[in-house]
């Protein structure tokens, strides 16, 4: 079993656990989309720096972002501002990033989340190696999580799988 497979399995458990607490809703693992494409809508990312250098990205449709924010804030969907939605998606990504960091080599630090409301590159604008990529569905809406290891001082053949 490769490190990528282990990370994806752990990531799956992590997402399942986070969504259960935050939304009381089950998530299902969906058919993985082409890694060169990304869901149009919103992408949040947090940077991990240290023993592992890379980013964790969370992409979702605008509809699901609004729905998730409404649940977290206990507000009607229609009353949410763009700032409410950005903050909620950023916080989900922050929680996710903290969990992912605990699965990766330590010590590392976590950045504050950054949210973009546009379709970005497959790597959330980060150059690097796609280490893990899982597509999910919750309440019929798709979302995706990616872990991207940045090009670093590791040797060319030295990755998480090494």
């Amino acid at each position: 079993m490769t490190a990528t497979k282990i990370l994806e399995d752990s990531l799956w458990e992590l997402v399942e656990s986070i969504w259960s607490v935050l939304f009381s809703q089950p998530v299902i693992r969906a058919h993985k989309t082409d890694s060169a494409q990304e869901l149009s809508g919103m992408t949040a990312c947090v940077q991990i720096s240290g023993a592992f250098c890379g980013v964790v990205t969370l992409s979702m449709t605008d509809e699901y972002a609004r729905s998730a924010a409404a649940t977290m804030l206990a507000k009607p969907n229609g009353s949410l501002t763009a700032a409410d939605i950005d903050d909620a998606v950023g916080e989900i990504c922050n929680i996710l990033g903290g969990g992912v960091k605990s699965l990766l080599p330590a010590p590392s630090t976590l950045s504050l989340p950054h949210v973009e409301r546009k379709q970005t590159t497959a790597n959330g604008n980060a150059a690097g190696r796609l280490t893990a990529h899982i597509s999910f569905q919750c309440a019929g809406e798709p979302f995706e999580v990616r872990v991207i290891e940045e090009a670093s001082e590791r040797g060319p053949n030295e990755t998480l799988d090494s």
């Binding site: 986070i18 607490v21 700032a83 950023g90 916080e91 990033g97 969990g99 960091k101 010590p107 950045s111």
Partner: protein, 116 residues
């Protein structure tokens, strides 16, 4: 409560309210939390770790330099053992990993006997 995410402040406020705690002062970053602490009297400090300006760790260290007794609860995504040790060394009294349930927060509050 020191937390930069408005969403998480809302979640915490809701969880505190359900635990009977309604007298809450909210800071949006660590520097603001320190200012509030120096101006008031508090039964409990809850701080996120990763915040702009001053981190939760900075907040804990500063508060401990002023007050050796007030409980400080770190509410964070930083789950690794070495980070918990770092927080405890900075003066943090207890630790709550995000995402948390209302019941988990209630248990922490019970430990510090924080009630309205």
């Amino acid at each position: 409560m020191a937390e930069d995410s408005g969403t998480m402040r809302t979640i915490l406020r809701r969880a505190l309210k359900s635990a009977g705690v309604t007298d809450v002062v909210e800071a949006e970053n660590g520097a603001e939390a320190i200012d509030f602490f120096e101006e008031g009297k508090f039964d409990l400090v809850m701080a996120d770790w990763n915040m702009p300006q001053k981190s939760g760790l900075d907040v804990a260290r500063h508060i401990r330099s002023l007050d050796a007794k007030v409980p400080i609860l770190m509410v964070t995504t930083e789950a690794e053992r070495h980070r918990v040790v770092e927080a405890v060394q900075a003066g943090v009294s207890d630790y709550l990993i995000k995402p948390f349930t209302t019941e988990a927060l209630q248990q922490k509050l019970n430990r510090f006997a924080v009630r309205t």
